[in-house]
Amino acid sequence: MRITVTGSNKNIHLRVPTSLIFSKASAWIAVTMGRKYAGDSFPNLSVEDMERLLAEFRHIKRTHKDWCLVEVESNSGSYVRVTL
């Protein structure tokens, strides 16, 4: 996964291994921490549900090269892009 942030002061380019983010361990961590710190605002997700979602993200990465998930452009000129 690539995260790009450009602004007037700084440019940030992050490369995060998707095998790390979309793993089963990550699913457990996300659900556990989400329930602990987000409380009621965290959706009623089981670890298995989260694993399904993350497996789908892994599938998207395999089948769609450079899939742009999110693109944000602010009126001040800052730009954020998240690509699988």
């Binding site: 959706p43 009623n44 997700l45 549900d49 399904r52 979602l53 789908e56 993200f57 998207i60 769609h64 899939w67 742009c68 998930l69 999110v70 693109e71 944000v72 452009e73 602010s74 009126n75």
Partner: protein, 165 residues
């Protein structure tokens, strides 16, 4: 690959115009229209809005061939969810833009699990986003609807669109 000339010709014929008719409406010569349609030349940029208005399409459709109109496809012509993409486009009146692109398979899975895939943002556009029923959007797509399925505008000028293509 379809060119701009091909599209001008296609939409002109769709409207039932001859090249002379189209030329007359745009105050150009029929030779100019012929050259556009054979890609020997392009319409002047200042003519594009008028040309698109006469042909009944958007400039985006003319230049890129992509249409955001809502269309219904019968079962034999429908694409599977794995071939479709859901795009959420947010434009705030202040000039901020947000684009989220999600495969429809992921959207459907999220709906089944009970997760909201719509971005959680503040402001009027956040409220508009929260009001979108993604389960209904998935149902519409499964029933054959493609294109711009949701379009909202707040009193402040923020716009939210949900497009499936």
């Amino acid at each position: 690959m379809e060119t701009i000339g091909n599209r001008i010709s296609k939409y002109r014929k769709g409207k039932g115009f001859t090249q002379e008719d189209l030329a007359g409406k745009l105050c150009v010569s029929s030779q100019a229209v012929s050259k556009w349609e054979t890609d020997a030349s392009c319409p002047d940029i200042s003519l594009l809005p008028q040309l698109c208005n006469v042909l009944g399409i958007t400039t985006d459709e003319l230049l890129t061939g992509k249409s955001n109109k809502t269309e219904f496809f019968p079962p034999e012509r429908r694409k599977g969810l794995e071939e479709l993409t859901l795009r959420v486009l947010v434009n705030s009146a202040a000039g901020d833009k947000i684009k989220v692109n999600l495969p429809m398979t992921l959207v459907k899975m999220a709906v089944e699990i009970g997760v909201n895939v719509v971005p959680n943002v503040g402001g009027d556009h956040g409220d508009m986003l929260k009001s979108i029923d993604m389960e209904k959007v998935v149902q519409m797509v499964e029933q054959g609807l493609i294109g711009k399925l949701v379009e909202m505008e707040s009193a402040d000028g923020d716009t939210v669109e949900v497009v499936v293509e």
